[in-house]
Subunit: 247 residues, 2 copies
Amino acid sequence: MHDDAWSPPPVLLTVDLVILTLREGRLHLLLVERGKAPFRGMPALPGGFLNHDGEEILDAAHRELSEETALTSGWVHLEQLAVYGESGRDPRGRVISVAHLAIAPGLPDPVAGTDATDAAWVPAEDVLSGELELAFDHHRIATDGIERARDKIEFSSLATAFCGEEFTIAELQQVYEAVWGTELDIRNFYRKVQATKGFIVPVGTNRRTTGGRPARLYRAGPKTVLFPPLIRPAPSATQGNTRGKEE
Amino acid sequence: MHDDAWSPPPVLLTVDLVILTLREGRLHLLLVERGKAPFRGMPALPGGFLNHDGEEILDAAHRELSEETALTSGWVHLEQLAVYGESGRDPRGRVISVAHLAIAPGLPDPVAGTDATDAAWVPAEDVLSGELELAFDHHRIATDGIERARDKIEFSSLATAFCGEEFTIAELQQVYEAVWGTELDIRNFYRKVQATKGFIVPVGTNRRTTGGRPARLYRAGPKTVLFPPLIRPAPSATQGNTRGKEE
DNA sequence: GGAATAGTGTCTTTAAGACACTATCAA
DNA sequence: TTGATAGTGTCTTAAAGACACTATTCC
């Protein structure tokens, strides 16, 4: 099929990050302003090339994450999202991006990183709506990352990654509401999360009193797969049972 | 951070395929015997390097798929699975594999492809059990692919990809039973798939009579997301509610 | 006592799980 | 009529959805 002189074409690998957090009860996404060509001056996902030939992809993702957020990686969830490798996606040549999804509790304001002249938290809605144009195919990547988070908190304990080490049930509910963009019934939510043994465990103490009854504190329990799941409500705009996309 | 002379380290990209099908009511996986070093003579997933610099990753996956299965790609489901890029995974250097999951209806016996001296359908169980040793990190990739299929047929109409264009409900049930490795109650299964409007649609005609009552034929409907989902039964070996992995 | 926030209880409805019989065809 | 396969109906149980009140704290 190939003659003997054939050798596989080399490509360049980047790691890009969809970093999600909650700020003021809304889902936010970390974007940087690109400091170099291509797309100089345009908002983009944090990320960059592998540092050296032996660097592991996941290590590179952690490195980029701490460069942008000055975050001790301890409390951050980080997982691979997907690969984006269309040949036209980067004008510098064949650049393959391994996108990652990171989820962290409310974070300090970001610090400018290596390739970024500026970094900022942006409401996810601004990206989803297309209002904010992103460099490369980062709009698509960000959308996929948010969608992954929306799906995953249904069946896993991932939502707790948006909270600090200790949190109240009301805070956890806010996570679901912000990520899904829906409102949930408080009473049903309490019933659900408490019925799922091992999802959250009470810590014993109560939260600082902000004027009302103090809230019980919980932390993430050992269970990472939720069964039965917390089902995401169908978007209420349309009628009846709207689950089930058409092809 | 880097001096001006720094440039990103190039890597090589391969595409590997977890190709699943049903044969004699059991889940099978296509493996090739490696014809070259490294791991010469050892079973491996079908796959190979990008052909040329401009080749799209998904196109490369389709190309490898048809090289190994002589399959018109029309009736095959093909999706990206994950990236495997640990620095030690390939002795030839830094080789990143973009793994794909392919699902196809009962296929003709495979033809030997470019890099393969031999290709064969192997029961998935032989791979999962670790009985069969695979080249590179292909055991891990195959396991992840099978797990993806097991998860995905719960919430999507993916199971129909294992069937031909027209199939009976009993055949669809066999898909679920083979992929999950469980038995399902016929009556509840009929109720579920028929209650989920748009999952399967009757074709009108009946299947060739093999001696009993002819079965109604169906084809895949327009709905790709199943709600409510077909829940995978908990493995019966252990007690009670065994859903929910511990960390 | 009033304002503020936390936490719960019940009824209805939907769907899962368990279980056994009837229907249609060919020989 | 028998053998073979296809197809269904009912009761019980689990969990989702809707809905409004009680509890604890601070002032």
